[in-house]
C-alpha cells in the first residue's frame, strides 16, 4: 500500500487553505497510526494520519480487521441460514438488518407480508432507531471526553428497549426475528402495552438529554463548523441516512420507496442547514422525536391476524431464478441486500450494501484541515459499526 511520506511534502506544496492553528513542525509531516485499538474507533478501525503540527493533512482509513467474508458465507448457506448472521452485521440494529434481508428475499421470490407483521416490523425498526441514535449520542460524548455519564444515560433507555426485544425474540441484540413473509413470534397485548409505556416516557428522556448535550457550550464549541460536508459531495459519495439529511438533502427511503406500511404514518423528515458535526448530532435527536411519533401511531393501530404468510415454505426454500435489490432506511443509512438466485437452495450472489462503510468514503474530506482531536468527533458523528464496515 501507499506509504504516507513523513518528510517530503512542504506546506507550499500542499496548497491547502490557510488554517488558524499555528503549531507546525517546519513543514514536516508526522505520520500517526490512529487505532486499531482505540476506544473511539468503535471497534477495530485504523486511520493513517499525516499531521502537520496538530493539523490533519492526509488521512487514509485502513479496513479489514473484522473481515470474515460475510458474503461468501451467505453464498454457502441457505437463504434462511443467513438470517441469524445478518444480526452480526450492525450488531446495534439487528432488527433493521433482518428487515432489509427479509425485504430483499421477498422481492426476489415475490412474497406478500401480512398486515400485522408489517406493523410489528415498523414498531421494531423504530424502536431500533431510538436505541441506536440514543447510544450514538452517548458514544460521541464519550469520544469527546465526557466519560461515562451521558453514555450511561443513553444506555439506561437502550436497556429498556433491549428488554422489550428480549421478551419478544428471546435475545437482546441478536434477535433473528424476521422471517420471509412475516415475523417469527407474535407480540402479546402485554408486550404492546409495555412498549407503549416505554415510548410514552421516551420524550421526557429526550428533553433531558437534549438539554444536557445539545445546548452544552463545550459540545457546541467542539462540533459546530467541524467536518462540514457539502450536499454535492454527499450525493456524489453516496452518503445516506442522517448524515445526508444533515447536509439538507431531503432523501429518506421511508418516504421515497415507501416500503412496508410507512405511507400510513405521518412523520416529518428533519433536515440540517450546514452539514457540520453539530447538525449530524441534531439530526439524531430530531429523528428520535419522529420515531416516537411513528410508534405512537403504530402501537394502537396494530390489527389482529396472522404474522407470517402461510404460503411461504421456509424449509427447502428455493426462490425462482432472478435477482433483486432491496433496501431500507436503517438507522445508519441505506442498508441494501442484492441477491441473485439461480433457482437453487443457496443464493448465487449475496451482497450487503453497508451504509456505514460507504459513509466512510468522505472521512478524509471531512477531516482535512482540522486538528487531530476533531478526527474522533467527526468519526463518531458518522456512526460506524465495524461488524458492518468490514463484514
Amino acid at each position: 500500500m501507499e506509504n504516507l511520506s513523513a518528510t517530503v511534502e512542504t506546506i507550499e506544496a500542499m496548497e491547502r487553505p490557510p488554517v488558524t492553528m499555528t503549531s507546525r513542525l517546519d513543514g514536516e509531516l508526522l505520520e500517526v497510526s490512529m487505532g486499531p485499538q482505540h476506544p473511539s474507533t468503535h471497534g477495530v478501525f485504523r486511520m493513517n494520519v499525516a499531521l502537520e503540527g496538530e493539523i490533519v493533512r492526509k488521512l487514509k482509513p485502513v479496513f479489514g480487521y473484522l473481515h470474515r467474508n460475510h458474503e461468501q458465507i451467505g453464498e454457502n448457506t441457505s437463504y434462511l441460514g443467513s438470517m441469524p448472521y445478518t444480526d452480526r452485521l450492525d450488531y446495534f440494529c439487528s432488527m433493521t438488518n433482518n428487515w432489509a434481508y427479509a425485504l430483499s428475499v421477498e422481492k426476489l421470490a415475490g412474497i406478500e407480508v401480512p398486515e400485522r407483521a408489517e406493523y410489528l416490523r415498523v414498531i421494531l425498526a423504530e424502536l431500533t432507531r431510538l436505541q441506536n441514535h440514543a447510544s450514538l449520542l452517548g458514544f460521541l460524548l464519550s469520544d469527546m471526553g465526557a466519560w461515562g455519564t451521558p453514555l450511561m444515560y443513553a444506555f439506561r433507555e437502550r436497556e429498556k428497549i433491549l428488554d422489550l426485544f428480549e421478551s419478544l425474540s428471546g435475545s437482546r441484540m441478536m434477535c433473528d426475528y424476521m422471517r420471509f413473509g412475516g415475523c417469527r413470534v407474535d407480540a402479546s397485548d402485554e408486550w404492546l402495552a409495555a412498549a407503549k409505556k416505554i415510548v410514552d416516557r421516551f420524550p421526557k428522556f429526550l428533553d433531558e438529554f437534549e438539554k444536557l448535550i445539545l445546548q452544552n457550550e463545550i459540545v457546541i464549541a467542539r462540533t459546530q463548523n467541524v467536518g462540514n460536508l457539502s450536499p454535492e459531495l454527499a450525493i456524489s459519495a453516496g452518503i445516506t441516512g442522517p448524515m445526508l439529511r444533515a447536509c439538507g438533502v431531503n432523501y429518506d427511503i421511508r418516504k421515497v420507496d415507501s416500503y412496508g406500511i410507512y405511507p400510513r404514518f405521518k412523520f416529518r423528515v428533519p433536515l440540517g442547514d450546514h452539514g457540520d458535526t453539530y447538525d449530524r448530532l441534531m439530526m439524531r435527536a430530531l429523528e428520535m422525536r419522529e420515531s416516537v411519533e411513528i410508534l405512537k401511531q403504530a402501537l394502537p393501530q396494530i390489527p389482529a391476524g396472522p404474522i407470517v404468510n402461510p404460503k411461504v415454505k421456509l424449509r427447502a426454500f428455493r426462490p425462482p431464478a432472478g435477482e433483486a435489490y432491496g433496501r431500507i432506511e436503517a438507522p445508519k443509512g441505506e442498508l441494501g441486500f442484492y441477491l441473485i438466485s439461480d433457482g437453487g437452495p443457496n443464493p448465487y450472489r449475496y451482497r450487503v450494501r453497508p451504509p456505514s462503510f460507504i459513509n466512510l468514503t468522505v472521512l478524509e474530506d471531512l477531516c482535512l484541515g482540522h486538528v487531530v482531536a476533531d478526527v474522533m468527533v467527526i468519526l463518531g458523528s458518522i456512526d460506524i459499526v465495524m461488524g458492518e464496515v468490514d463484514r
Partner: protein, 226 residues
C-alpha cells in the same frame, strides 16, 4: 421514470457507438438491467447522471459477480421423420456459455427520487479482468470498486486509489471468486522461526535414532550456505 428501452435508446443516441443491451430479469422483482460495453461505459454513465430527465446522481450499490463457464441444457422441438411418420421430437442440446466477471451498479436519483436502474459491465478474461472505473462519475464507487478489486480481482482503469481494502496487502488470491480454493491450513504463516529452525538443525549432527525422521540433507545445507 422512463422504461429501460427508452433509456437505452436515449443513451445510444447520446454516446455514439455505444452498444447497450437490456438484460431481462426472469424473477418477480422486475429489476432488469442494462449491459454496457466497456469502451463507452464512462460516457454512458455521465449521460445517465447528467441528463435532466434521468439525473441518476446517486450510485447506491456497486458489486461484482463471478459467472463461471457453464453449460446450459436446452430442449428444442424439431420435426423428424420417425418410422415414416413425421413427429415432434425433443432434441436436447448443450450450449457452452463462456464465463465472465461482472460489475453491477445500482443507480438512483436523489433529485427526482426515482430508480433503481441497474447497469452492468462484463470482463471476459479471468486472468486479466479489466473494466473502466466509474469513480470519476460517482464518488461512492471508490471504496466499493476497491472491494471488487480485492475480492474479485477486477482491475478498474482510472480508479484514483486502487489497492486491497478488506484483505491484507500481501494476500495473493481473490476470495469471492467461485473457483477460489481455501488454503488447507489457515494457521500457517511464514515466520522467521521456520528459517531459524532449519538453520539451527545444521548445528547438530543428525540423530535419526532419537529425532525420528529429522534428517538434514545435503541440499538443505547448500541452500542455507549460499
Amino acid at each position: 421514470m422512463e422504461t429501460l428501452e427508452q433509456i437505452k435508446n436515449r443513451a445510444e443516441l447520446a454516446a455514439r457507438g455505444a452498444r447497450i443491451e437490456v438484460v431481462t430479469n426472469p424473477g418477480p422483482s422486475q429489476q432488469s438491467s442494462l449491459l454496457i460495453d466497456n469502451e463507452h461505459a464512462v460516457e454512458v454513465a455521465k449521460f445517465l447522471r447528467d441528463h435532466p430527465a434521468l439525473s441518476f446522481d446517486f450510485c447506491s450499490n456497486v458489486t461484482g459477480v463471478d459467472w463461471l463457464e457453464r453449460t446450459v441444457r436446452k430442449t428444442t422441438k424439431t420435426k423428424q421423420v420417425v418410422d415414416g411418420v413425421e413427429k415432434e421430437v425433443d432434441q436436447a442440446s448443450e450450449e457452452k456459455v463462456p464465463g465472465y466477471l461482472e460489475a453491477v451498479y445500482h443507480l438512483y436519483s436523489m433529485k427526482l427520487k426515482h430508480g433503481p436502474i441497474i447497469i452492468r459491465m462484463r470482463a471476459p478474461n479471468r486472468n486479466d479482468a479489466r473494466l473502466p472505473s466509474l469513480t470519476p462519475v460517482w464518488r461512492s464507487a471508490e471504496l466499493q470498486e476497491r472491494e471488487i478489486f480485492d475480492l474479485y480481482g477486477i482491475h478498474f482503469d482510472g480508479h484514483p486509489d486502487l489497492r486491497r481494502i478488506l484483505m491484507w496487502d500481501e494476500f495473493k488470491d481473490h476470495p469471492m471468486r467461485k473457483d477460489y480454493e481455501q488454503p488447507d491450513d489457515f494457521e500457517w504463516e511464514p515466520t522467521p522461526h521456520d528459517e531459524v529452525l532449519v538453520r539451527a538443525k545444521t548445528h547438530y549432527t543428525p540423530r535419526p535414532e532419537i529425532d525420528g525422521a529429522e534428517k538434514i540433507t545435503a541440499t538443505d545445507r547448500d541452500s542455507l550456505n549460499h
